[in-house]
Symmetry: C2
């Protein structure tokens, strides 16, 4: 049996729409084993109705693509998904700037300071990515594009050089959040509260509805205040303090948690 540990990622860090992502200290474990015949995919009870358990399953599709690539044909397959990452809430592992240029991924990995932690706010409502995508316009004002370019460059430079004072301004965005905020109840109030708590910027994780706030200190107090604040709303929000995951996917030893390769 093969066990792989994959961290949650949050894409679209503020102005870095579709290019700045971060891995979180929150993991899914994928166990896969060749069996005599057939395809058997087991998932947690809570994910039923959201994850396919037949040939449309994304993990199976990825494995099949690798098998095709290397020319191996397993007799049958048992895939067991141990999922800790909330489904369709905008979470799926350091921070990476990436773009695809002529089919090749060009990227730079950014090592964030250890004292940066993230406050991750996960609501009890789901927001399908398809819906969050459909709400975006096809054309945007040039000045909004320039707004995001400048913030994305400032955010990148500030994170690499440790200029955290720039972050609240640098995570601002005009390309997706203004269109999507209507899908998140109490957006403006939450944003104001996070600024008031002295955090370093709040943004929509991926296509939402999870929100992420950057913190450089006072973690537990900020979490407590945030929980108290969010409890006044009709939606329920789970609030977590998360470290940035320093590694990507990991291959674990059989039956144990030891890391075989990274």
């Amino acid at each position: 049996m093969i066990r792989v540990k994959v961290p949650a990622t949050s894409a679209n860090i503020g102005a870095g729409f579709d290019c700045l992502g971060i891995a979180l200290d929150l993991y899914n474990i994928i166990e896969a084993e060749e069996i005599e015949s057939g395809l058997k995919i087991t998932i947690p009870e809570s994910d039923k109705g959201y994850i396919e358990t037949d040939e449309r399953n994304l993990v199976f599709i990825s494995m099949k693509r690798l098998f095709d690539e290397v020319g191996y044909r397993p007799k049958g397959l048992h895939i067991n998904l141990i999922n800790n990452i909330p489904i369709t809430r905008g979470l799926i592992g350091g921070m990476t700037v990436a773009c695809i240029v002529e089919g090749e991924v060009k990227y730079v990995r950014i090592d964030l300071p250890d004292y940066i932690k993230l406050l991750v706010m996960v609501p009890d409502f789901q927001l399908p990515t398809s819906e969050a995508r459909a709400i975006l316009p096809q054309n945007v004002p040039m000045q909004d594009a320039v707004f995001n370019i400048s913030r994305a460059a400032l955010l990148t430079a500030s994170l690499i050089t440790g200029r955290l004072d720039n972050l609240p301004a640098a995570v601002d965005d005009r390309l997706h959040q203004p269109y999507r905020k209507g899908l998140i109840p109490h957006w403006d109030e939450i944003m104001s509260k996070m600024a008031e708590l002295g955090t370093k910027g709040t943004f929509l994780s991926g296509a939402g509805p999870t929100l992420i706030t950057i913190m450089d200190k006072d973690y537990d107090n900020i979490r407590a205040e945030t929980c108290k604040f969010l409890a006044a709303f009709e939606q329920h929000w789970d609030v977590y303090i998360m470290d940035v995951c320093r590694y990507g996917a990991e291959l674990l030893a059989q039956g144990k948690g030891e890391i075989v390769c990274r």
Copy 2:
């Protein structure tokens, strides 16, 4: 008398439209002296017709603003402009990522590796910034905005971390160069030639028409090959190898070149 030395700058580094600038090792010197009465502005012969020599002069307007700010009123003023920077060719005066957020300039200075030099190609035709601005659309496709955001972030991260292999892809732009390239004869041929010479990316300096190529080696040979190549065209191009200026404006000692403050 006061003497100030100001480096040329090139804005719009590739994808960093309106936010990524670089200072060059090419300078204007501004000499200013209080006189008994009146305003006397002297400029080089070659700049006549391009630079105002009355109260509309930009240096005078800047000085006046400072005088107003500090409450000083000079009796009269003699300003002597010793200009080495070509006018309206997209060059004025490390590398800086900057944006203005609520009236405040947020920036990060990037120290480039010493071996990065720039090949600066200045043509004999002028391109007024007003014309280069008028040609830009008010709205742009979302995918072009995302294209630039990702490259601007990748460019910034690659320059800070020394990942020069990413540069040719990272300086690419879809927000202003595709609209302005028609104003630069032989754009495509020049771009192809620069890539063929193994340089690290070529972009329009500011609103053009000057072009800048990033080099990490082989400087003299690249310059010689470029001169030979450009000589075939009907326009004349002056081609310079320039260092990145590590400092901003400098106050020089009276009558000498010594630096008083930076």
